[in-house]
């Protein structure tokens, strides 16, 4: 059951990746990035707080990796 679900997740992500590659010419112009630049759109907007939470989670679960990295968002820095 668990193996089946993980398989579905991996297939879903692979499909997303293919979709993403197929449409990689999509462009957001600089003047359209006001929302993307906002802190609420960042994947890691408070690294110290999120590292404390991640620290707790990693000590209670076997899974590791795939954590969010800074740099998501407007890419305007």
């Amino acid at each position: 059951m668990e193996h089946h679900l993980v398989g579905k997740v991996v297939k879903g992500m692979a499909a997303s990746l293919l979709l993403a590659l197929g449409t990689s010419c999509v462009t957001v112009r600089p003047e359209q990035k006001a929302i993307l630049a906002d802190p609420t759109m960042q994947f890691e907007s408070n690294p110290l707080e999120e590292s404390a939470r991640q620290h707790v989670i990693e000590n209670r679960e076997a899974a590791y990796g795939g954590g969010s990295v800074q740099g998501g968002g407007c890419g305007c820095n």
Binding site: G12, I57, E61
Partner: protein, 423 residues
């Protein structure tokens, strides 16, 4: 030193003037053309983790501080400090559901310190960084080096980042020989004598390699995506040196015995979408995980963040995680497992390698006050920020028991406060 003593006073003065001139030129070159780029960020954090249980009473206080200084527009230098102050109680011997003996939890406490530092170089659309961290506590030492390279392209709508980390850890154990049968190895009872020449102590190595590739993509003015692929290799002593596991019906226990190698892989996809009608950024994340111990994991995350005031925003988040157990996992190893089978060769008392699910929910309030343009808050700060967060985590252990009894320390509470300033 000897050369300096041999110089006459005039030569020393000339040398000092020359050194001062060079230093001035170097500082001037470093700072003057980029005076407006000079920024320093200082952030501090304290988190308190608590398991409100009658037996474990685990409490971890996790203070930390980070400083980043950017003397020029292209150079960042960082330093950090973190600590874990841990107190609690745990059973030293993991007994299974068939056991007649119920062991009592014994108290423990320890403090771990981690200091780190590094730098980053940013040029046009490329960033390179390198970091080092050293951690130490009474029974464990760690060193890690991380290098990363990232680049933006397609009008900065796409960012790719690659990183590699190498860890050299050392863990204190009893002084068993590698040739001793695992069933004859004994666990530590205290950290006394660790990292000394004590005859009854030894140091085992753990080598860690972590590779990561991250892809960030802006799809629309309201949607961005992040995909992260992580691979990690662990080699060495991967057990808890204090934990014994009952491996015979007569009650005999031996030091926990895990495989020496573990390869781990994770693939995560995250999306952030700004919903204009409700002025809220919605985040969704999914992650798949698998390792060579045959643990499969899946994680789903959902969050929403919006402004309550221009200077205050609220984030609410929820998370679900589930994993299968390791191939060698058993809640009871006294049932006469075949010696050549996974549960005959290895035994574990670690709930993290047992099948489990976990649910968490939390919220964070974040305050940020920035100066408009070149203006400064209170005449000093480019930005002031502070946050308070709370998370509750409930773990559902599917098989793990202490002598047949379900542990009562499956609820965890985490409170975190952060504050920071940019100069």
């Amino acid at each position: 030193m000897r050369l300096q003593l041999m110089l006459n006073p005039r030569a020393r003065r000339r040398g000092r003037r020359r050194s001062f001139a060079w230093l001035s030129v170097a500082l001037g070159a470093l700072l003057a053309p980029h005076a407006r780029a000079q920024v320093a960020d200082v952030d501090v954090r304290t988190s308190v983790f608590n398991e409100p249980s009658a037996t474990s009473k685990l409490t971890v206080i996790h203070p930390g501080a980070a400083v980043v200084v950017r003397p020029t527009s292209w150079l960042g230098v960082n330093a950090s400090y973190d600590a874990d102050i841990v107190t609690g109680a745990t059973e030293a011997v993991k007994r299974g559901r068939l056991a007649d003996i119920v062991t009592q939890a014994s108290d423990f406490s320890d403090t771990r310190h981690v200091v780190g530092g590094g730098f980053s170089i940013t040029r046009a659309s490329t960033e390179l960084s390198a970091n080092y961290a050293y951690g130490f506590e009474s029974d464990y030492k760690s060193q890690s080096f991380t290098v990363a390279a990232g680049t933006d392209f397609l009008q900065k709508n796409t960012k790719i980042e690659l990183s590699y980390g190498r860890g050299f850890d050392e863990v204190c154990t009893t002084a068993f020989a590698e040739t001793d049968a695992p069933s004859n190895r004994q666990a530590l009872t205290s950290s006394d004598g660790c990292f000394s020449n004590a005859d009854d102590r030894a140091v085992r190595e753990i080598n860690l390699d972590t590779f990561q590739a991250a892809w960030n993509q802006n799809w629309t003015p309201e949607l961005n995506m992040q995909m992260v692929l992580t691979g990690a290799l662990q080699n060495g002593f991967l057990e808890n040196p204090y934990r014994s596991v009952e491996i015979a019906a007569a009650g005999d226990a031996a030091l926990e015995n895990h495989p020496d190698n573990r390869a781990r892989g994770a693939l995560a996809l995250r999306l952030k979408y700004y919903v204009r009608p409700i002025k809220t950024a919605i985040g969704f994340g999914v992650r798949g995980y698998r390792d060579t111990w045959d643990i499969l994991g899946q994680t789903y995350e959902l969050s929403g963040e919006r402004y309550l005031f221009p200077w205050l925003r609220l984030l609410v988040r929820g998370r679900y995680y589930a994993q299968t157990g390791a191939l060698f996992w058993s809640d009871d190893y006294t049932g006469g497992e075949p010696e050549t089978g996974p549960r005959g060769q290895y035994w574990s008392g670690d709930r993290e390698v047992s099948p489990l699910a976990s649910y968490s929910a939390g919220a964070r309030l974040q305050l940020e006050k920035s100066g408009a343009g070149e203006a400064r808050v209170f005449g000093i700060f480019r930005q002031l920020r502070a946050a308070a967060a709370f998370d509750g985590i409930k773990t559902d252990l599917k098989e793990f028991t202490w002598s047949g009894e379900t542990p009562d320390d499956t609820l965890a509470l985490l409170f975190t406060l952060t504050a920071g300033a940019s100069f």
